[in-house]
Subunit: 237 residues, 2 copies
Amino acid sequence: MDDDRPPPAPRIHGTIARKLGIEIVGGIRKPGDILDGEIEASEELGISRTAYREAIRILAAKGLVESRPKAGTRITPRNRWNLLDPDILAWTFEGEPDAQFIVDLFELREVIEPAAAAFAAQRRSDRDLAEMTEALDGMQAFGLADERGRAADQRFHRAILAAARNEPLTALASTVGAAVSWTTKFKQRRRSLPRDPLPDHRRVHAAIAAKDADGARRAMTDLLRLALTDMELPGRE
Amino acid sequence: MDDDRPPPAPRIHGTIARKLGIEIVGGIRKPGDILDGEIEASEELGISRTAYREAIRILAAKGLVESRPKAGTRITPRNRWNLLDPDILAWTFEGEPDAQFIVDLFELREVIEPAAAAFAAQRRSDRDLAEMTEALDGMQAFGLADERGRAADQRFHRAILAAARNEPLTALASTVGAAVSWTTKFKQRRRSLPRDPLPDHRRVHAAIAAKDADGARRAMTDLLRLALTDMELPGRE
DNA sequence: TGCGTAATATTGTATGATTATATGCTTGTC
DNA sequence: GACAAGCATATAATCATACAATATTACGCA
């Protein structure tokens, strides 16, 4: 089921798509803007028109741009963007994401993850639980200052979504993962790691292990609340 | 903010991407399968290699396939697919979606929409409310047997998500919309329209109008429960 | 049997030419 | 002066072909 195949080496079209994507979600290019023509743009980038066009196709597939003959390729309004697309999310955090966006993302997590934890408590297999345990141990062993520790953190949350046995829900894993990784990055930038997040995680784990759905839901809600307040972000409005 | 521009005329790469996409999500082509080489495939379809490649780029952007030199283009495992992508969702419902998938989608709605309704009750503008009112009137005027009535139904749910003032949440609108439209289609196929769904909707509307967050949450939960039981789908497992 | 190495099939990239499309202007009409 | 119809044209869409890069596979060697 897992694919241990190494990720393909980066190709030009992907590289360009990423570059343009970052510029778009980062606000350097705004909705309504019209990109340069294919010939001009590809020359400017020093690549062929073929590669450039394929990059545009990628962006169009994610709803970032829309191109039509004679009119050119223009950036679509934000509400047409597939904000939950893993690449778009990654590109968003490549730059300096809007504070409100992070708050929104956490709000979404507070909707998704407690429910997922409750489902997971009911439906988990022993293998799911083992995966969570392993991830938690990884967090403890390395700490969130270490890259491996952060990866374990993501693995924990991902394992819960997987254990919920709901495919569309699982598809949100990358969304959640993006928020998770940003959290710790953000906190470390502020040099404020006031609280050890591990006990919160252990409580969630224990509830899922005990197949206590309501407990898992509550524990996950607490975990998220605390994580958000730790970030000391401005509230809504 | 809305874009009243007519949708671009269908192009070849989009058409082919759609065709292949439907075959993939429909299970005709399975994860691990390797597609024919570019030259062979494009000849078979009667198109140029360029157009075929752009179609593949679209599918790759949505996580359906992955191509590498010498190895060919292969269909990725399901857990890599962006199931929430609007196109993938549409393609899924183009064929005969798995019953379990529909159940999962409703489960996701039961997580998302009640929370969205609660947020909407707190944050809605008068304009949001007017949009919901209009949509509801449209449902009543045309009924769900009419295409315009179904469109109004989707508009209602979309308006609630929009009123929740949370961008990532709003991005799930197409996901929810797909489930909404499928619901009525499914029910009508069974020739069973046992209950008028309008009162359920009115209750949600009233709670949001009154800025009653908890009431909105409950009303939406009820609405979804009833809609699901109406479909008479088999339960989990 | 294992490892290194090279042959080779396949995708990736580049270039140039042609076609189709919708825009925006121009013209004509009221 | 405003508006509608029609056309010229810029632009993306498609096609065709050639060449480069890459990773798999098979082969040969230790």
